[in-house]
Symmetry: D2
Subunit: 373 residues, 4 copies
């Protein structure tokens, strides 16, 4: 089995996460093609070279266009700022590569649509970095929906909070301006929640929404007394209507002190209720309306080998996966899709649906009216 060559663009938070995943996926998922870490790309040459060495890449580059064109590269992984996703992804697809791109797809809906259009006619496959959907706990949740264990879904909720911009004295940056960064919490983390909801409860048809900026000005670093204007969403909330008839609530904040990665999901079905919290990512909380009423309760299920692909990481139950392991599963799924042994998930076509919801939420928040998707 030929080992696919990886060209990784970006060396930040997600860059390292991808590097670790590409390095370990073969040993974790025996039987999958083991990627070769062909080339690591970063704009700064010295950093690129040093990081390539440390992470075990064969070589480094400062020119993403060269990486995308490199015949030694089969998969291009894009972990750069969102604004350049579209250009890189489309170029890579046009060069015949498989493209693994971090979320969100793009800053503008138009770019996301261009990416999906490019993917639709390309030879390569695509995958977006909706790593949380790869969690065996949520895969099991999806099975409990699909096999009817929860009954018909009546109502679902997603609450996704972090606190990375909760501090009012955090200095101003371009990330606070909608004109420069696009959406705030909604684009950065809310899209994960939409991806999870879509996976579990199907397509969202209509939304009505509200957004708010918690801190409308922020101090400017290095300029005592000056403050810059912040105007994209620190908090965004929406009421949802699903194609299935279920209703839902989405609410997300990047200004909720104490929350670090609090993706809380609730599914209310006619036979049971399911809850999940990413901060306790190895647990699923399930209530089933069956059996002796005196012993019913929400049960805390610890993920285990009975929840594939947990067993690839550990044969013992309840020992726990970590954040980085989710990227390994995401990648294994992508490699399997490339190998033709399973259907693609969260490719650009699927990701575009997430983007449409996010942007519908933003439009509704601007207009105050329900928006149909």
């Amino acid at each position: 089995m030929k080992r696919p060559g990886l060209g990784l663009i970006g060396t930040g938070f997600m860059g390292k996460c991808h590097a670790l995943a590409y390095g370990t996926v073969g040993a974790t998922f025996e039987g999958l093609p083991r990627p070769r870490l062909a080339v690591l790309c970063d704009v700064e040459a010295g950093h690129a070279a040093a990081t390539a060495a440390a992470w075990g890449f064969e070589r480094s580059s400062t020119d993403w266009r060269a990486v995308v064109a490199d015949p030694d590269v089969d998969i291009v992984s894009i972990t750069t700022p969102n604004a350049v996703h579209a250009e890189m992804a489309i170029a890579a697809l046009e060069a015949g590569k498989h493209v693994h791109c971090e979320k969100p797809m793009a800053v503008s809906l138009e770019d996301a649509e261009r990416m999906a259009a490019a993917a639709a006619t390309a030879a390569g496959l695509t995958r977006l970095g909706y790593n949380y959907t790869a969690n065996p706990a949520l895969s099991h949740a999806a099975r409990l929906v699909a096999d009817g264990t929860l009954g018909r879904l009546v109502h679902v909720r997603a609450l996704y909070d972090e606190d990375y911009m909760a501090d009012p004295e955090l200095p101003w940056s371009w990330r606070c301006r909608r004109s420069e960064a696009g959406l705030g919490a909604l684009g950065d983390i809310g899209c994960h929640a939409v991806a999870i909801l879509t996976m579990l409860a199907g397509p969202i048809d209509a939304v009505v929404a509200d957004m708010a900026t918690a801190h409308p000005t922020r101090p400017i670093a290095g300029k005592p007394g000056e403050r810059g204007v912040a105007d994209n969403d620190d908090v965004a909330s929406a009421l949802l209507r699903f194609a299935s008839g279920a209703t839902g609530v989405l609410t997300t904040s990047r200004a909720a002190h104490g929350t670090k990665n609090a993706i809380r999901i609730e599914l209310h079905g006619t036979r049971g209720t399911l809850r999940f919290d990413q901060e306790r990512m190895n647990e699923l909380s399930l209530f089933l309306a069956e059996g002796d009423e005196a012993t019913r309760g929400f049960r805390t299920i610890l993920t285990a080998p009975v929840h594939p692909p947990y067993g690839r990481f550990c044969p013992a139950p309840g020992h726990g996966l970590g954040f980085n392991d989710l990227k390994v599963i995401e990648l294994a799924d992508f490699l399997a899709a490339i190998a033709g042994t399973r259907a693609p998930a969260f490719d650009f076509a699927e990701g575009l649906k997430v983007e449409r919801v996010i942007h519908a939420v933003a439009r509704s928040a601007d207009s105050g009216a329900w928006v149909t998707i």
Copy 2:
């Protein structure tokens, strides 16, 4: 100190809860006037008499108008179905009594307005049964808001779920029809959530909402194969804008399996976050963005004598109050207001504000547009 005479109308869930509270409040809150259990009123004479004897009432009655007019009665407590609250409360106020009325105030907003108008000119004081707001945990939460510990509130949430109508096979009743029962989950339990939010975060100015009936038909008891139409809200959700500038989310369901009294409140402030869950009613979860970052976390505060009036029940911390104790505190507050030693809380004027929010939510759900209150 003259002991105020109680006339209690109703012998159901809340009737017993009131009887227990009136019987025990004097011993719990030494120094308050100890109510006399003067008369217990129920439509069925035998049941009224037997229950009066069991609960320690001096006598019983089947005529609520006689109770309301009884010179031996100083406080009329109304625990009857919502549809008759207005008539009884207004009659009692006109007879010069203090009125203690269960929530919601009434089925229609018009009735609630009539009750508030009657209270505004009456000699007697009024109190609504928003017992959850009496929890020392939430009183402490209110202090943490008022004293700035949490900073400015940016965003707040209330999720209130129960499962008393989650079972699709629960037989049809008038409670399922909006034309007969008025609002569903929103009126029955959602009003509690609004009362709590109002207490903690101040007045709500505008809402946009959605409501859904989880089970649009239900079997008719005793008529195999026949089903009745259900059309009021099993689930209701709203986006909220507060006078303070904060945004919020309200979502409530009576069809969420496994939830029994799950009033979950979240306050996101500029200095910290607070969470509360009525199913763990003796706990408050607080995150403060202060001190060594390596030891920050949500702290589970167990209520204790430092959280008045907990100490009236128990001098030892963390020993726990129960659901019925909240009614005792609510009543103690009312008796203190009658005695003139503290300001009234959740009287009919305050309660009307809650009703206005609830009905605005319903109107918005009907129209699809934001509704200003």
Copy 3:
């Protein structure tokens, strides 16, 4: 049905708890005889009179011997310091009264044995204040053991922690000296844990134990620089062997910061595991090794009307009892035993078994050897 007259001795923490329970038990448990609050006894006349008035007693007394002899008194409730339990209880039994006595029975095992001997030949019934065993959650736990749901018990644990003496600067008192107060944490709170274990897992046959004083000297209030010697147990731990063949662990501390009433119980059976924590007294955590492995987990059961006698307090599930409600159930059980409608529980004969375990633990801690009971 004649209303039994109560003579309550003591007006402290437990005195008030008893007063509240005797005042409310009749209305809570309709059908039981409603006690009359005949006489309240305290050594200080003014306090006794004022408290009797506030709590609704007919009269007060400063002479416990008069109370015990009072023909108007049917039940004597003893909530005084442990050292005088024996004298009062025996006198009351000899006077033909029913005796309700707080735990522990006595400071010395000899006193406890004298009390049990007196009870064995008395006309009156006895009851000890092991209120935690009255919790519907633990009653349900006992049913799950008895009906085989948990299978054969293999191992059980009780951890009971509080922090009322955790502060090293808490002033010295007689409670710190074994010669004056007898046992420390073991006698004060550990006995509750033994009572619960005995109820759930049957008699304890043998123990080996260790005890420690966390703070061997303490400052003397009002005497700067002086410190008094503390030598009874702040922490006590024991390994247990049950008559059933199960093994167990008991560990208790009154110096565990942050724990307020942390009675944690674990039962490991051949079919499942059960956990309980008094700080979340309305929950039971149950794992059953049955059904689909992928949905197994510890389930959090909220107590409800299906867990009698919860429904006496509230017809709605999961609404929660409080600490004071446990005393009401304990009393209801005692009144039912007096009325002959159920067997006595935790009478002096049963309580003596608890004392024997506690004192065996202390003896083993002194000798370092296993002690057979």
Copy 4:
């Protein structure tokens, strides 16, 4: 920097865990020497070769003695059954290799002593697989002890439960016999708890203990109706005395249904209390007896970059490490010790102390008397 060559012996649960860790440690901990996966050793040639290919090893072997002697191998990692640890480890040390050995050191205390003696005079360094001690949460706990945040430790506890032998119908194996497998739960998992306690609270001086076999016979696979004798410990418990003067409790079971990796640690200090549960391995629960009493509570600290080396895995707080990540940290520590940049931890000398405690527990359980270590 020369890349150290790894010779890994064993391809089971721990074999894969080591392979993943050796493969990823360099990229995770930039700056450390990146090991080369030189040779993978398994008794079965085909399996060895296939696994070596899948895991990215350069070659495979069926001869552990050849691996140990291989000049291309710098570190020998031993993940074979416990009974052969001593022979392999001593041979590797004698060959001048660094030795990374899974816990427990050996089946017999004598073997462990021989291993420690060999290590004492060897050129190579040693490391035992006490991976749980590598958790950033527990490293932070150790800092909170060392810097006095918790005050003087008064009492500590470790409860370690799993359920891999809870099922009474699990077939008999040699693992159930003390004569063949040595200790049961105590040796297999209890040793981890001792390692953690030792790291946090210092050396243990004396123990008294009890052990029990939950299921004294088990069915023999393939022989219907026949049962084999099981006689090593399914459950073991001990009372502990530490050199520091603190007391403690250790209790461990492999027959506790529903527990999967429940290592629960409690430290009771004079200034605060700390709790940890490996099943929620990214959390630390801390109570500090300081600040406003009304806002004190156990705080749930999510591990983050402020808790090194968490940040090596993820720059965002609260995103969570997994079980396999702990092996990476353990290995990084070992590689750093080899590189001379930090002191060794849990080498054979330290590990021997753990073994001495374990075997003292077993001796005490046999004799019924306290055993001094």
